[in-house]
Amino acid sequence: MSKLSRLLLLCALTLPLPLQAVWADDASSASSAASTVTTVAPAAAPAAAPTAPFLVTTDKINSGDTAWMLTSTALVLMMTIPGLALFYGGMVRKKNILSTLMQSFAITCVVSILWWAVGYSLAFTPGSTPYLGGLSRAFFKGVVYMHDAGKVSVSHLATTIPETVYALFQATFAIITPALICGSFAERMKFSAMMWFMAVWLIAVYCPVAHWMWEPSGWFAATQLDFAGGTVVHINAGIAGLASALMLGKRQGLGKEAMAPHNLTLTVIGASLLWVGWFGFNAGSAVASDGRAGMAFAVTHIATAAAALSWMFTEWLTKGKPSVLGIASGAVAGLVAITPASGFVSPDSSVIIGVLAGVVCYFSATSLKRALGYDDALDAFGVHCIGGIVGALLTGALVSKEISGATGSVLLQLKGVTATLVWSFGMSLIILKVIDMTIGLRVTAEEEREGLDISLHGESLE
């Protein structure tokens, strides 16, 4: 373990350079595609489209779009707390349930503050390179509403809603991404170490990758089709999960003791709220209350249902019984896979994406994990990274020009995916290694035995 990580530490430290070299001229080579690709802002831009946030008079704000984006933001926050918290919490052993909920909740808080401080600015304003945004919006400077003056700032990525709403909407994405990682290292990581990891990871990994894909001047913004974060959120989190599962090692007693989920009722509640909230995630990524949002909404729902059934039937066939955990996992796999595709594909295509995501993730969360032997406890890698890759590539293959006005290709998709995989995996290993060498990553064996609820938080479930 420590050898492996030392190696990776080295290679990761030198990672930005080769990456830059290899893909340096992508943006230009893909320029023909670029002109027709719009990632999140579906409406055709006027003559000289703004390239940074700006002030408008309040009558430029569309109250319908704003209503939907306020709602979407609430929905996406609900995905993390309580959605994801419960989805994960139900799968751990009873002695670790509160610590698992705590991870999602604390991440929500710490990311929110960092997002206000620097995150939003680093991700969603133009920077001096295509790799990271600037600091012009640090501490929400310039994100304003002027009552008497009748003015309000808007993001150049969403010109019909107040910038506050766009910044908050994006905050909820920045919250759920690190929270997803927790699935991989569940039941064994120190809370303090987790807090450090997530804070650094947000700045060092999430903000750059979001900038690459979504900010118009970002590295892959012109070539990558990622409507709602298949790459930025799911691949990014999933591969960081794998890194953490490798760095932390297996849970004590894995394969020997029973580690059955303690309360799948919570997991079903969580999966359900994820599904409901994901409408905000995907349809909200249209940043408008329009036909494209509607289409994103519809394909999200259909793909999810298809994936849930495909996981369920695969399990039924191979293991003899359809399980509640299976159908819920399949639904999440479908939600993940349709995420990048949601504003780009037709209902027909969404069925294909869903069915494939269900089957592929079933095998990655069962066979692949067992074969390779890492302890991706709640399958953040197996479902989110693998499902995200399935979705990202299929988006390239199935994108509908009619629906999106955009074109794409599996190859172009692969580039953004690879860059994300490499960067997130490498940086995660580095950050984890540094934390391990300083305050330590893992609880003691006795704390793990007693359960993290009592040992880390001094609380327990009756």
Partner: protein
């Protein structure tokens, strides 16, 4: 005095309680337990990981009785708890050295 302990199938509890009441038992203490024996457990599968749950839910009942009543109670339990299938359970009988009723401080026979 004897303490009669029976490990039975949970859904038989009500029948057993009634049966022993009929032969004159006035008190019973019940505990949820898990049993391992000839009766097999079941398998659960979570994302491909199979867990063989070897223990079956059982109910333990404890009844303190005067020596004279013991055989009747044992018979009543045996009859009420029987399904004829593996896993019906066991009856264990112990000698009781002493019994006290906490409320009154009464001892032995009158305490039961």
């Amino acid at each position: 005095m004897k303490l009669i302990t029976a490990i039975i199938k949970p859904f038989k509890l009500d029948d057993v309680r009634k049966a022993v009441s009929e032969v004159g038992v006035q008190g019973v203490t019940v505990t949820e337990v898990r049993g391992f024996g000839r009766q097999r457990g079941h398998t659960e599968i979570y994302r491909g990981a199979e867990y063989v749950v070897e223990f079956v839910p059982k109910t333990k009942i404890e009844i303190a009785v005067a020596d004279t009543l013991a055989d009747q109670v044992i018979e009543a339990i045996t009859k009420a708890a029987q399904t004829g299938k593996v896993g019906d359970g066991k009856i264990f009988v112990f000698d009781l050295a002493q019994v006290v009723r906490i409320r009154t401080g009464e001892r032995d026979a009158s305490a039961i």
